[in-house]
Symmetry: C2
Subunit: 299 residues, 2 copies
């Protein structure tokens, strides 16, 4: 099996088990109030790539953890990611009608239900992170994971980053400003995903900080790849139109650095991500392969 | 000191220490992005009664706990309450321009910032609930508190209740339906407030379940009192107009039971709340007095 085949099979398998778990952890679609539960399911199962849960599980295994013990945390990360997409798409925010080729949550269910579906997913993430589990993980570790994820999602992380991003429409950021937006908006939760996996497995300080570095570079690479795909990507594969950043005059890595330099920067971040975890053994192979996938992904 | 003077002094003192703690636990108003932080402060310090934190602290003390150990939890409850008000006021939801006599968050800061301010407060609540503390509380208890509060705020509680409430504008609920809305929309978080205080103090099952019953009745009384105030209250004291429920044809306890029967029902819930905790010693005096305050409050 060459690396590409391994990656395909690995991601496909992981998505499947993550989606089965997401299904288990959400209240049924026909729970009352039904509109809200249907909207929550609609958005959670709208074709996400499940990068955050997969990173969390991979980091957990790279530190010798057992898959099942990290599954609630992995799914909580996907709940939080999905909530952020629902709220970002709202008319008052990015006002997007389509996401992955399907109507956005507020287009399908109305704005009030979409706001509540986002609120619900953010809250249910913490229900999941704190619920009692058959596989006992020390409560201290679980608290540390909640701390890590909440901080990454809060004012210092994702929510603050989204507000900066909205502000960037008025006052164009420079390179440092752009990095700050992305560190908070996407990087923080990606980094928290790998750190949470490591913390749950009981990893030591050194491993956790190596993985935090890995997460940082993967996060940067992820965002630059997004910007590059917005120029060069296949609209049909991605389920959204390309060229929108340029049309809206958005500041991106390619617009600041030029397309070629942005691609070089992307490749550097991927190398740095892989270098960060060179002290890990073969169980970190999936993490290494995922880092490459971030660069080569087509959607 | 008669009971009324005691209550006034007690609530005033508790509001003061809660507000000092809220100030400490929030990032400064001039943290970047500034608009978002200003909006968060604006809404948190918009004149709230701090009922949830005060109930949490009182339940904690009634179970022999030390005030300082419950303060982060008390403030997290106020963050969650404030987030719910910000989102409920949004144009897509209740579309309210005023709250406690001041412009609502989206009126003052725009809709995008208001959505993010709500998201931020909900998330920061969990940052606060999970952060390391000088006063060590066993991690198991802290996890149980997070579970209690998250569940009360989530689909089975507050978010679900708000969705039911929005639905009630189209299909009018009966008495049982109205109770279900309020149990989830307001009752769940009020109950979680007292339970959280008890759990943090290390209370046993019996005390926790007595306090859960207390919280349930206080929650019902609180909502009926709200409905009664909407008819008979002093608009100036409350900072909002009265009679709005009737004008909008909203189903309320008075509209279903008649005003007098609603008041009788309110008094019964207050009695039942107080009865629930009759096994507690004098340290539960504030809880008993607060239950009476719920009925007699003017705003």
């Amino acid at each position: 099996m060459n690396p590409e085949e391994f990656l395909d099979a690995y991601l496909k398998d992981r998505r499947k088990i993550v989606e089965e778990a997401l299904q288990r952890y959400l209240p049924d679609e026909d729970t009352l109030p039904q509109d809200l539960h249907t909207a929550v399911h609609y958005s959670v199962f709208a074709g996400g790539k499940r990068i955050r849960p997969i990173l969390c599980l991979a980091a957990h295994e790279a530190c010798g953890g057992d898959l099942a013990a990290a599954m609630p945390t992995a799914c909580a990360l996907e709940f939080i990611h999905t909530y952020s997409l629902i709220h970002d798409d709202l008319p008052a925010m990015d006002n997007d009608d389509l996401r992955r080729g399907k109507p956005t949550c507020h287009k399908a269910f109305g704005e009030a239900t979409a706001i509540l579906a986002g609120d619900a997913l953010l809250t249910e993430a913490f229900v999941l992170l704190s619920r009692s589990e058959k596989i006992p993980t020390p409560a201290e570790r679980r608290l540390a994971v909640i701390q890590e994820i909440a901080a990454a999602a809060g004012l210092a992380g994702m929510v603050g980053g989204q507000a900066l991003d909205i502000g960037a429409e008025k006052v164009k950021p420079d390179f440092r400003g752009l990095q700050e937006i992305h560190r908070r908006k996407t990087g923080a939760l990606l980094t928290a995903s790998v750190k949470a996996g490591a913390i749950l497995a009981g990893a030591g300080e050194q491993k956790i900080s190596a993985l935090a570095k890995f997460g940082h570079h993967v996060g940067m690479a992820f965002q630059i790849a997004d910007d590059v795909l917005n120029i060069e990507g296949d609209a049909e594969l991605m389920g959204k139109s390309t060229g929108s950043d340029a049309a809206m005059g958005k500041v991106t890595y390619p617009s600041l650095l030029g397309l070629d330099a942005a691609k070089t920067n992307l490749a550097q971040h991927v190398e740095q991500a892989i270098d960060s975890i060179d002290a890990f053994d073969a169980r970190a192979l999936p993490l290494r392969v995922i880092a490459r996938y971030i660069m080569d992904r087509k959607m």
